[in-house]
Each structure stands twice: as C-alpha cells, then as structure tokens.
Symmetry: C2
Subunit: 179 residues, 2 copies
Amino acid sequence: MNLAEELLQDRGFNGFSYADIAGQLGVKNAAIHYHFPSKEELGIAVIKRYRERFKLWVNNSRIKDLSYPEKLDWFFNIYSDFRVNNGKVCLVGALEVEFNSIPEGLRKEVEYLNRETLVWLEAILAEGREAGAFQFKGTPASKAAVIYSSVQGALQMARALGTKKFCEVVEQNKQDVLV
Amino acid sequence: MNLAEELLQDRGFNGFSYADIAGQLGVKNAAIHYHFPSKEELGIAVIKRYRERFKLWVNNSRIKDLSYPEKLDWFFNIYSDFRVNNGKVCLVGALEVEFNSIPEGLRKEVEYLNRETLVWLEAILAEGREAGAFQFKGTPASKAAVIYSSVQGALQMARALGTKKFCEVVEQNKQDVLV
DNA sequence: TGACAAACTTACTGCTTAGTAAGTAAAATC
DNA sequence: GATTTTACTTACTAAGCAGTAAGTTTGTCA
C-alpha cells in the first residue's frame, strides 16, 4: 500500500502496474492480487487509509491545539513534504485528472477525500477569520476551494517549473489571508 | 489533432490510444501512424498548435484592446468553456500529473506552454495593478501562479464536486484582485 | 502430530498497446 | 500517358496489462 500510494502520486492510477509493485517488493505479480484482487480495490484501500490518516491528524491534539495560522501552516506543509519528497502530486488531483478512466468505487473515494479536506479547511478559515487571525473577502467555503485547488495545481506546476513555483503559491496564499 | 486534444483533456496522455482516434474517425490504426509516427510526436503537435493558438489570441486586437478586468474575464472563460464542454481539464495540468511517464519532448512543450501562460497573466496583473484596476499583495508573478494553479486545480476538482465548485474558485479569484 | 489456513509461486490467458512492413487506390505532377 | 506522391488498408509483432487457476511452502493451533 505504501508503494501503491507513492506510485499513484508519482504516475497516476493508469501509470503504474501490479508488476511495478511486485518488482520493488521482490515478489511476483500474483502475490499482490492475493491481497488486492482488483486494481480498483487496491486504489480504494490506499485512499481509505489516507482518509483515515487525515481524520486522525486533524482530531489529534497536536494539531487541534495549534493557533489558526499554525494550522494553516500545517496544512501547507503536508503538500510541501509531497513536493520535497520526490516531487509527488496530491492524490486527489492525480485521480481527478484520470476521473473518466478510473473505476466507479475509486471515484467515490476521491470525492469523499476531497470533500473532507475542504470541510476541514473551510472550518479553519471561518473560525480563524472570526477570531481575527485571518482576513479575506468571500465565503470561507470559496476561499478554501481557492487555497486547496491552487496547492493541488501548484504541485503539478512544480513538475514543469520547479519547487520555487510551488513555494511562491504557498507564500502568496498566506499573504492573501494572514492579517 | 482535434480528437487527440479532446482525449488528452478528457483522459490524459496515457489514457487514450491510437485506436480511440482511429475508431472515432472511421479509419485504421496505421492511418494515424502515417501522420504521427509516434505518440510523442502527436502529443507535441497538439501542444504546439495550442501554444500557437494562445499566442494568436493574446496578440489579437479583440483581446488586446480589452480593459484589464475584461482581459482577466477572457482568461477565466477559456477554462469555463473547458468545464462546460464535457468537463475537460487544462492540458498543462493533465500532462503535469503524468509528467514522470511521458516522453521528454512532450515535457518540454508542457513547460513552454505553462511559462507562456504565466508570463501573459503576470503582465496583465502587473499593468492592471499599476492602472488601478486590480489590487493584491505580493508580486504579479506569484499572484499569477496562484490564479493559474487554482483554475487548473478547480477544473480537476469539478470532476468530483461539480461545476459549482469551479465557478466558486473563479468568483473568489476575481473578488481577491478586483478593486 | 496432523489439519488447516495464510501467503505466496508457477504458469497461464485474453486483451490492449504502440509501432511496422508491405501492398493498394487515387490524385497530382511531369 | 507515365511516374511519383499521398493517404491510406491489411496484416502483423512484441511487449505490457489485469487477472486467474493450481500447486507449494510456512507457520499456527487443536
């Protein structure tokens, strides 16, 4: 599952094969099929695990007790780590590009993960603005959508234009909401 | 090339085949190979044509003589049309997700298109701010990066969450820069 | 010690893929 | 009117793909 997640973020769902995983693990093709009969089930398992991980993190006191700007920083750092660690891309963005050629069950998982991430970010922005830590026009929902989609896009852009472009987007987003 | 462009925006580079194009055109596989010997050459041709089209548009008086807010609107409308027209995604974003599994020559073209788009948007933002039509913190370059990457990301997000989410991102971006 | 299940391997199937070589029919050129 | 070029078709290859059926090893538990 670790390898599948990395391959997904590196090449997308249609860009890796059972052989890629089996090869790196030093086992045969069929060994992976034993644990995940279909590629759809493998994909679903990876995203379900990722969703669980995100849920655990945001409910953990280590993040819950942070200030609003620190919470935003933590969020951006998830994606900075992706960028630094082999130029990975956001799972949601990668799978949405391939949305029309991935199995139905996987599409649902992507939708849930996307929704859950936006819901959390929206709440932070709403509460942070209320508390005077943030300032921005429009609704927290639409501001959350801009921030999340720009970070997603920036991870992709960094593949062609380098890490600096990604950092630029993060810094600009911060400037746009921090008082 | 029209079909290849649509398929690229629908499923990505690894998501379509010569057979898809040949089938829809009512010809055989090899007929496509006659015009584009390799898939890389087909991809390059599509992006080169797109770059040329963008260059022609921005140098056309129809767009050059627009006000700054209208120019920004024209830019957003390119992507709104993508969304409305069969939920297409930005070529640049789609190919950057697959960046690590597409041919070298194609990667270069994606880089050029990305750069050219950002350069134009940056200039509009810089001149527009100078003229008092826009207001934003930070540099025109980083603001351009946020706008472009968020529109790219929003087209992808709309696949899972619907067209409304895309419109939300466009409207928020406008509110963030319009005086 | 024996039964059973978990975690594989071996060997394969049927399908799709990009790409090719040789042949053909029609149109343009000399 | 002969030759060449353009735009294909037919027929194929070699590789890669997800997925499967049957057999094998290894560890666990009664």
